[in-house]
Subunit: 494 residues, 2 copies
């Protein structure tokens, strides 16, 4: 039963998919809550009830502390969860504790023997380093282990996940990803974003994900390690990450940190709980503060999980509705460092346009200059370029009245009938376009907050003259669709 990944819907580089592994199905984008193999604040039964279809745990801790039991029972019954289990190799423990005492093949054999569905080959996370030599060393170590594991073990019940390392160095990330694909991995995982995210270097996170995504086939699922920040999930999904694992829900809870979809708050500073989840709806920060520590951690962990779960569903819903760009923009408006990251993403419209549908039945929102980089806007500009033909004689340029369909514009009809000129309209965002495209997405479906570009009319006239029109008549469309020649109006008002 090899791993398979089926994409059902797309938006930007994000997609709704079904990941099948170990004979079990997981809908993506998907967060895998990390559970500790020995003690859990939230039980696996509770996680399942909340709708989580896959969990992550650490095979090295199991190896060290529950080895025999795990080999005998297998992981699903050991931890009481019949969904997909992904196991980490213990590589992350190197980052935290300096070293782990296990070899790549011992790790792989153990993960396979306990029946893990998705197992990460033993890696050495690059972490956040400015040393290219150090980054290269960790990347090469991880790649060699991965190649050797795949060679020795191949695909079985357990599917191998290849860890992409290389930190912030694009060429290393590329070499790592390309090497893992060549070695036969069907799913990759991008490593080391935790420290990048903890220090709010979100623009660099965007760069890392794009470097990885560009280097692997579109059809291959990509996991992002340790990405449990509610603010970055939509962003990572838009950049093509399919699955995430994180212990953030419980780690944050232990520090009395309360997730919201706009940021992380500190329980001690809170007066209200702006949330409707079961952990919040009938209590207060004061009551939570007075609980015994374990009970409070559990309540906060449950709340944090609910926020992450809702965000995961919001990402999926946004993809199906073609609103992922909008969701990312709203999330990224909550912190300047995220606004920067959004700028970086917005500069990659061509790459992002892969999954953006060509037509949709909803308005296209243009709120800021960033939105001028939306795939839909760039695409319509390209469609425009293709639709202009050489002109001659008189062109009629209608300005204003953006929401009034061409058929309802009154006034220039007489002029139209007599001289039959080509008619164009001026869109505040998309510029000049042939009036025939008026009903074509997104010309009248664009809701814009940007004011018309100053000098837009002059630029449009110039463009039309360049196309060969001898004369451009400008008509202004006013209330109720009544159009008036701009020149004659200005004469009269003198």
């Amino acid at each position: 039963m090899p791993l398979s990944f089926e994409v059902r819907d797309t938006d930007l580089l994000g997609r709704i998919g079904t990941l099948t592994v170990g004979g079990k199905k997981v809908e993506t984008p998907c967060l895998l809550p990390v559970i500790h193999p020995v003690r859990q604040s939230i039980t696996t039964a509770e996680l399942k009830k909340m709708g989580f279809q896959a969990l992550m745990t650490n095979s090295y801790i199991i190896y060290r502390r529950r080895k025999e039991e795990a080999l005998q029972k297998k992981i699903h019954s050991l931890l009481g969860f019949d969904g997909v289990f992904m196991t980490d190799s213990g590589g992350y423990q190197v980052l935290e504790y300096g070293s782990v005492e296990i070899s790549y093949d011992e790790s792989a054999r153990f993960q396979s023997s306990i029946g893990s569905d998705l197992a990460v080959t033993l890696d050495r996370p690059t972490g956040y380093t400015t040393s290219e030599a150090r980054a290269k060393e960790t990347m090469m170590y991880s790649l060699r282990n991965a190649e050797a594991t795949m060679k020795e073990f191949g695909e079985s019940i357990t599917s191998w996940v290849g860890p992409i390392q290389g930190g912030l160095f694009d060429p290393l990330l590329k070499k790592s990803a390309v090497g893992l694909v060549a070695a036969g991995f069907k799913m990759l995982a991008l490593g080391s974003p935790v420290q990048v995210m903890d220090s709010y270097r979100f623009a660099e996170l965007v760069g890392m994900i794009l470097a990885a995504r560009r280097s692997i086939p579109y059809s291959m699922p990509l996991h992002l390690f340790g990405a449990g920040h509610p603010l970055t999930m939509a962003l990572s999904v838009a950049l093509g990450c399919d699955t995430f694992d994180s212990a953030s829900y419980v780690l944050f809870a232990k520090n009395d940190r309360y997730m919201t979809e706009n940021g992380i708050l500190r329980l001690g500073e809170m007066t209200y709980l702006p949330c409707s989840c079961v952990a919040c709806v009938s209590t207060t920060p004061k009551e939570l503060g007075e609980m015994p520590r374990d009970e409070r951690t559990r309540a906060l962990a449950l709340h944090n999980l609910h926020v992450l779960r809702a965000e995961m569903l919001a990402c999926r819903e946004a993809i199906t509705e073609g609103r992922l760009w909008d969701l990312v923009q709203v999330r990224c408006s909550s912190h300047p460092r995220l606004t920067e990251a959004f700028s970086v993403m917005a500069g990659e419209a061509e790459l992002l346009s892969v999954g953006t549908r060509h037509f949709r039945d909803k308005g296209l929102m243009v709120r800021s200059a960033h939105d001028l980089g939306r795939p839909e806007v760039l695409r319509s500009a390209a469609r425009l370029d293709a639709s202009f033909r050489r002109g001659s004689g008189t062109a009629l340029l209608l300005v204003g009245g953006d929401q009034i369909p061409i058929g309802e514009v009154k006034g220039p009809a007489a002029a139209l009938g007599r001289r039959n000129p080509d008619v164009f309209r001026l869109h505040p965002v998309l510029g000049v376009y042939p009036a025939e495209l008026d009903y074509v997405y997104p010309f009248t479906q664009t809701v814009a907050a940007l004011h018309p570009q100053p000098g837009g009319t002059e630029a449009a006239k110039k463009r039309l003259r360049r196309l060969g029109y001898k004369k451009v008549e400008v008509w202004e469309v006013g209330k109720g669709g009544r159009a008036q020649r701009a020149e004659s109006r200005s004469r009269r008002s003198r």
Copy 2:
């Protein structure tokens, strides 16, 4: 027991207050769900359990359909709610049905007799009209009724709420508000925003609220009629609205519309329910769609109420944390029409700064040009102007290294010691400032996504020369706080 309003905390024009009326207390900002006096999708007991301390209902419908029963039982036991009851006069029914058959004094007598805590005098909502004559007529009718009611009935158990009308005409809104205050009203309610909001004219909504707020004392609570859109609550709170009533939760539910804090979705188009409330957490859009209509309406109404309740709490929490501007900005990033409204608000920093604290222990976020209008930014500019003194000799201008406190800047110390020049720093957002202010809010507490203004260094040098400095030495602060003379560096790099 007259109405009293006590303000506990403020941010922008928003405030956390306690409204005491009829001997009962309501914490503000506060949403009053509108209930139908005959049939309720969500019962008053459920609303109370969700934490709603006040409800709104229509006294005219009670008058027409349950008059005797209401006079006998009084409103609280009639409808089974012991919190604050606010009653509308039936004026809104004029807007919907053309006319109501009740006089102002009959309406007032009835509302008072059934024991309403807060009663609106009989008004004629202006609605959305472009006719100033029509707007004036409705405003004057409402004002005269209000004056007459207050004269005849005065304050008793029932406190009177004066309805501000005038639609989109600022002078009329002002005349209305000033007249009501003069007539002795202790609480006012701004009318007719529903149609303005339904047509997404949010910038005009901001204008209406500001016109009303400017015309009444800061200490007076202001109600906003019919404002139950989750996207505009934070905006309205920031502009000084304290209470809201709305039936939107159930009206939207009847049309299968699903509220989120980023917009309204249509159940029929949804695949996922991105929410953790009791109505959503264990069901799907498909299951909801297959429910009998009444049951589905009830589930959606419950969900919508949970969204509005959480938003109300988010507004309160944002005020206590001094983050209301940020919350409004995030909410307004979800729709171009709201982005426009936010621009209008951002242009009123002086007015908004009333409630903004002078110091806070959190970073100030600057994400966009709009944020340059934040009260804190304008205030620090004013503080700067006051702190500059006439200079002479050499000024040292440190550029870059914005997050590195002046005490940790290495390099110019020697220059400092020898010649003792005045030291200035260049902030990417706030401009040039004396280095002594480095630890003063918000100079190093500002988290900015804006790139330094191009020409910022030149502008800073010019400003320092105007202050009398003969020479301005520019030093660049690099990694680890190491500073280097910009001139010498550029010489070397040639």
